[in-house]
């Protein structure tokens, strides 16, 4: 029985990464390495105004004085920041006016990934901003969105066309000085998505960004900024994949969310960067800073993430609950297999009164992977009646993996109620037996149990994503009994 289970585990956990192909497109690349010249080069490539260049240079100089963090519970060889290409763009003659003008190779790439750039072909209304390597190649449904006043475009476009908004909000939630990787990102970010929902508008469709690393040796540094004005609502999705390569590639993104009074932003991620092969060779280093601020009263920010890819993940989507009665949520499923390492979690900073936050984190580790939850719940002195509930569950599939929990809880107000609970366990033999008895084979039973384990988070995902995420989860782990 045990042997059979191990076989099933072996089969399933060894399934291939199916997004590992490379698209053969000509790329316009910056030389390797990082210097002030490269920062100027990127800025010039983007035809950026002077203030943007200044912003980048300031961040770059700041970065030089900073040290790479060593506190996460992950190990990887030192990154040579001079061995990375900081800018790579697929060659396109001119910016396409309509979607028909997009390079067919590119179009094929996205079709292969299951992302259609043809608006009419889409069944459900999801607007997509497709980012390949360093630049955004297409944004769909722009016009329809602009009818209701929603701005959804690439960051480069926003810098050109909405400088006043960018000046006001860029770096307002994650300043360049925040940490080593956010400083690096601020200096060299090449593109990303910008989304602005005006007052009182409920965004008519899901917005989505799809990130694809294609070129070798490049780092991807994108920047996402979402501003939701008073009383607005938006649901935002993010997906990502990369080709299989032997060398590690760096991805250091920054996501900022600003929610004004009574606004609600729902941000969902299905992270599926190339995780490296079975020997732990290659894979993406995913060092991401994500933070939202509930700036106005009664606002709400909700992060949902399904993390299955990347060889090393270092990511803490956070919410600053500044407005009174604001709500922060964090739902996460992190799956690690083979030699993957994940150190992920959230920060909920309660500043306003009557603020509420909820954290549900599910970690699943298999193979020789290490999976850590690291979170902070902080209640400031004036945050009366704030409420937090955190739940961190870990499921271990195999005896060579590890699950770790590092929750920090800091409360300075005596009317706050904060609860945290965590469990670590494996799939019980009795659970499997129960299913077997009812005619469900072991493989299906495990899938069933894992699905049930992750259900609470999966339920938070928008429909289109939930299907994809569930499939991903199945590919990563189905059938694994320790």
């Amino acid at each position: 029985m045990q042997e059979e289970n191990d076989d099933i585990l072996e089969q399933i956990t060894s399934s291939e990464y199916k997004y590992g192909f490379v698209t053969d497109i000509e790329a316009d690349e910056a030389p390797k390495g990082l210097s002030e010249d490269i920062v100027r080069f990127i800025s010039a490539k983007k035809n950026e105004p002077e203030w943007m260049l200044e912003y980048r240079l300031k961040a770059y100089r700041q970065w030089l004085t900073m040290e790479e963090p060593t506190w996460p519970n992950v190990q990887y060889p030192a990154i040579n920041f001079q061995d990375v290409i900081y800018y790579s763009a697929p060659k396109q003659k001119v910016a396409p006016n309509s979607l028909d003008e997009i390079d067919p190779e590119l179009r094929k790439t996205f079709e292969k990934l299951g992302i259609s750039l043809d608006e009419q072909k889409r069944i459900s209304g999801v607007a997509v901003d497709a980012v390949i390597d360093s630049v955004s190649v297409a944004t769909t449904f722009k016009e329809e969105l602009s009818k209701v006043g929603v701005i959804f475009c690439s960051m480069s476009e926003a810098i050109q066309e909405h400088p006043e908004l960018i000046k006001k909000y860029l770096g307002s939630v994650v300043p360049a000085t925040d940490n080593f990787f956010s400083a690096l990102n601020a200096a060299v970010f090449s593109d990303g998505s910008f989304c602005y929902i005006p007052k009182g508008v409920r965004c008519p469709m899901e917005l989505s960004t799809y990130f694809r690393i294609n070129a070798a040796n490049t780092g991807q540094f994108e920047r996402t900024l979402i501003v939701a004005e008073e009383g607005s609502y938006v649901s935002y999705l993010e997906g990502c994949t990369a080709p299989m390569r032997d060398e590690n590639q760096l991805h250091a993104a920054v996501v900022e969310i600003v929610a004004m009074e009574k606004a609600e932003v729902k941000y969902s991620t299905v992270q599926n960067w190339y995780p490296g092969d079975k020997e732990g060779k290659g894979g993406i280093y995913n060092f991401v800073t994500k933070r939202g601020i509930c700036a106005g009263d009664h606002s709400k920010i909700s992060w949902t993430q399904v993390e299955t890819g990347s060889s090393v993940t270092w990511k803490y989507p956070s919410v600053i609950l500044k407005g009174d009665h604001s709500i922060g949520e964090f739902y996460s499923v992190a799956v690690t297999n083979n030699f993957q390492q994940a150190d992920t979690g959230t920060k909920m900073v309660h500043i306003g009164k009557n603020t509420r936050s909820r954290i549900v984190s599910k970690g699943i580790s298999a193979g020789k992977s290490q999976n850590s939850y690291r979170g902070l719940v902080s209640v400031a002195k004036n945050a009366s009646n704030s409420r937090n509930f955190s739940q961190c569950d870990s499921l271990l599939l195999g005896d060579k993996c590890g699950a770790h929990t590092f929750p920090y809880i800091e409360v300075k107000n005596n009317t706050a109620i904060v609860e945290h609970e965590a469990t670590t366990s494996k799939i019980g033999e009795d659970q499997i037996f129960y299913c077997n008895q009812r005619g469900i084979d072991t493989e299906t039973a495990v899938a069933l149990i894992i699905n049930g384990f992750a259900k609470e988070v999966m339920n938070q995902l928008p429909m289109e994503f939930a299907v994809e995420a569930q499939k991903l989860l199945a590919i990563s782990l189905e059938g694994s009994v320790g």
């Binding site: 506190w71 209640v379 002195k381 870990s394 271990l396 599939l397 195999g398 005896d399 060579k400 993996c401 590890g402 699950a403 770790h404 929990t405 590092f406 929750p407 920090y408 809880i409 800091e410 409360v411 300075k412 107000n413 005596n414 009317t415 706050a416 109620i417 904060v418 609860e419 945290h420 609970e421 965590a422 469990t423 670590t424 366990s425 494996k426 320790g482």
Partner: protein, 432 residues
Amino acid sequence: MEVINNLTKAFASQENPSSPLHEFQSDNWKTFAGLGLPAIKHEEWKYTRIRNAYADNLVIATDAQLSAATLSAHQLPGTDHANRIVFLNGRYQAGLSSFQDDSASLVVKPLETAAGDEDAEFVNLHLGHSQKYHPDGINALNAAFAAGGVYIRVNKGKSLNQPVVIYHFTDSSNGYAFSQPRILVNAAEASAASIMETYVNIGGGESLTNEVIEICAAQDAVLHYVKIQNEGAKSSHSGTTHIRQLGKCLTHAVTLTLSGKLVRNNLNMVMEAEHGESHMYGLYLLNGDTLADNHTIVDNAMPHCFSNELYKGILDEQSTGVFNGKIFVRKDAQKTNAYQSNKNILLGDHASANTKPQLEIFADDVKCSHGCTIGKLDEDALFYLKARGISEQKAKALLLHAFAIDILDQIQHEAIREYADKLISERLSFDF
């Protein structure tokens, strides 16, 4: 820093090359010189500014006199027949110590003596394990001054009739007094013992105690350990209790912190044998500016171990409670069951609680859980009591007392339990 110079001088003046502990002490002094005093940027000391306690006016306490009257005035009630070990300013006082159990069961001698006689092998093997296990500047500092320490052996197959109560007196009449007691306990195979520690600041000044107690429990041993801290608002404390399970055994620890200025307790349970069982309980009932920091480690290194941990805090006025509980389950420690819980009640408007329950698990066939809560008194429960004619103050006291009783019930020695209950009831103005 002046304090480092003073410590250096004090170390040099007490150096004794002929002592069997000399090498141990000087090695640790070098370690301390390298590591220095912990700073708050050090993860383990994030919330506790221990450097503030090591102020420049710290006087490395010298020999003083302790009268029998002072001693009996501070004796814990109900312990007239207990084995008594007395420390004064961090040095073992053989003359003031007394024993009820015969020497066939209990052997107590200066650490320096033990390091040179038939116990030398044990001392060499186990003294300083806490430092090797978890390198720490102030642990090394204690070790550098270990000559005044004591060695306690509970013989094989013996069960002590009376608890061993250890009194730590610090005489602060000559200024900010610093004492560094050091204890090594050898609980031999199939022995049973109960060890209690309490701290007294005499002289009315400020004091700082930096203690290290290392306990080794062998196969089939049963060991109960109780630490009662109620030294008053002028006394700071940093202490490490390092308990090793060398064979299948039961170890049980209760830590009560009722007052102090800055209190840091490290409690390590290192379970090095299969089928071990350990329990850790703690209560911190704080007011004023007290900061109490409990760092605990349960290290499940072998399969089939069980550990349970419950720490509770009641934080009034401007006090701060810090809790960090680590559970390690090593790679081969399958079938481990480890539980941990930390509950805090914030009473004071300016009180704060920082807690970090931490799990690090490398084995898959385990059941581990931890939980923690920070909150206020249950409004519904308060209302229930008030609706029955109980005044708000009494109702609160009743609820808080009920909250604390889970920990008090864990103290095995009846008289000590009643004494602790009395202290807590007084604090809560609980007089039913």
